[in-house]
Symmetry: C2
Subunit: 332 residues, 2 copies
DNA sequence: AATCCTTACGTAACCGTTTTCCAAAAGCGT
DNA sequence: ACGCTTTTGGAAAACGGTTACGTAAGGATT
């Protein structure tokens, strides 16, 4: 391996000079610069990133924490992050947390130890203290779909509640009289907002009560099981809003097994806008989140913070619009 | 940050001694060991992983290259790798290559520079020279579903051809008279093997010729488009084997739009065994690959190589069985 | 000509480990 | 008590960079 000292020797300068030239710091005569660059090229020198990390406490890497890559929404998000990061020459560390506190902790520690340059968090079980801790080490963060009251943390979210309202009111508009919801986990703030959006639209109907709410966990299977539950409780149900697309897909299967025609006897709307919803039978109406765009923005925000001095960090809270996509599952 | 020297000072020994004790190398009196450990605990000392990497040329990290995490098969595989890696205290670096040579190259270089301890490759566009290069830097590799003739590289694969035969012969068994295939990309060896398996079963029928083969790219959309193509070419088609599940899902939609009843007028079988196939309407028969298990085995193999001296590396080529799963899409 | 500023670059310390080599201490046999 | 081997642990040099500081040379200013 060729080191900076090898280059220095061959170019007849000191290692410090080579370092400065590489990093464009301090001055040097045009001749020296040219000579050093020539030698670098000739010897095929490449700075050792690990050694660099040791002194600079940076790693050219940013981390993305997601709850699971098994839900296609997250890969889409990850691509946004990755493409954008690559365009800046940054590597990304994709971390699957399964929303388990233990895994989150481990990742966070390991990431800090590796001097990651920033962390994008889209995962439950990350506390304000965790972010605080990263900040105290000079590591900026951006949360996705998680906001903390503190003004210190940047976040990017979408209008979940509004999206849920779009979905639910659409069901009402097409004539559904009894609308259920398959909600997401209780400790998930996005799930809660999506539930609220639904509530906003149905709370004044006299048929509405808690029993129209089924508790899912965002998996296909839970959508399937919850739908069966709803059928049992309310044979007269004629519309369902699933708080994410995977559950909507499971739900579709349950409807089929239960012998309900979609959309005529049961209208369905999902949430997320994953690709698969176009290909189900029938295709599922959904509220599309700009996943890719969110990923892109997260990187931008991280870089904005990086440029600032740690003490001047001021958080930005951004909220993106969602888009309702009408498909057969709710066309009457 | 507390360093090894801080610990040394407080314990009244040298940094070298602390290092030796931590790593269990060389000897020390039980008292010294106990004292050092006590101080480590008291001060909350944790070795700096970056500094460690610099000297040891290791990083406690292994990388996994996959073509895309958007195909649910790969997340499943990734989980196997990750869970297993975690149980050994290893971090994993998940790399999305999109099967682009450029990205593969960049990742490989970046990974080598970061002293990854091993690389698991399940991606096209990785050449024998790439692996050779990693080996020359002491980095062991395991390929997944890619085998090179050289005996130097360990690999884990599944019996694609056999799986394709299972699928195709099943279609024949249930009475299909005209069976098409939606194959995968031409440069993908697994796609080729799966095609062969199909050919093995149909080549002797007099109806068979090239026109029963449609060229897909393993995406849902391509399954959809290819099926339309097949319908146009062969209105009498009554069975299709899709070389992966995503394409089978796309195909299902095409069948529906074309007004063909599945399975009665068109029987369908996929490949991979992704979860989603259980939830389509109808559920899709498939050939299940032990994705999780493959991931697990890849780590095991990597660790086996790590323990050996680089010069003693002898490759193992393992091939796992697939399992045919019968579902409604091909039940008559 | 003396003074001061700038520029260009070298020296050496540093980042936090590991590891090689070596010396002191301890154990052992006689 | 004396050599001889084995333990135990320290000093210092790696690993491959960055950077604070210093200095010599050259130019401008008075």
């Amino acid at each position: 391996m060729v080191t900076i000292r090898d280059v220095a020797a061959k170019a007849g300068v000191s290692a410090a000079t080579v370092s400065r030239i590489i990093n464009g710091k301090g001055q040097a005569t045009p001749e020296t610069i040219a000579r050093v660059h020539a030698v670098i090229k000739e010897m095929g020198y490449k700075p050792n990133v690990v050694a660099r990390s040791l002194t600079s406490r940076q790693s050219n890497t940013i981390a993305l924490l997601v709850p699971t890559i098994s839900n296609p929404f997250f890969p889409e998000l990850a691509r946004g992050v990755e493409d954008s990061a690559n365009s800046y020459g940054l590597n990304i560390f994709l971390c699957n947390t399964d929303d388990e506190r233990e895994k989150v902790r481990n990742y966070l520690i390991s990431l800090r130890d590796r001097y990651v340059d920033g962390v994008i968090v889209n995962s439950l079980n990350v506390t304000e203290e965790d972010l605080e801790e990263l900040h105290s080490h000079g590591i900026p963060t951006v949360t996705l779909d998680r906001t903390f009251s503190s003004h210190k943390f940047s976040s990017i979210g979408v209008k979940h509640r509004e999206g849920a309202r779009l979905a639910t009111s659409h069901l009402i508009d097409i004539g559904c009289k009894r609308i259920g919801i398959i909600r997401g986990p209780e400790d998930d703030s996005t799930a809660i907002q999506r539930l609220w959006g639904y509530r906003d639209c149905v709370k004044n109907f006299d048929w509405f009560d808690q029993s129209w709410i089924a508790l899912g966990d965002f998996s296909v299977k839970s959508g399937y099981l919850c739908m069966k539950e709803l059928f049992q409780r309310h044979p007269d149900i004629d519309g369902v809003y699933a708080a994410n697309d995977l559950m909507a897909i499971g739900l579709l299967k349950a409807a089929h097994e239960w012998g309900r025609k979609v959309p005529d006897e049961l209208a369905i709307v999902g949430f997320d806008g994953i690709d698969m919803t176009q290909y189900t039978n029938p295709p599922i109406s959904t509220v599309k989140q700009p996943a890719y765009e969110m990923g892109r923005m997260a990187i931008e925000e991280l870089l904005r913070l990086k440029k600032l001095d740690e003490h001047n960090w001021y958080a930005k809270k951004q909220e993106l619009d969602v888009e309702f996509i009408l498909r057969e599952s709710s066309m009457r």
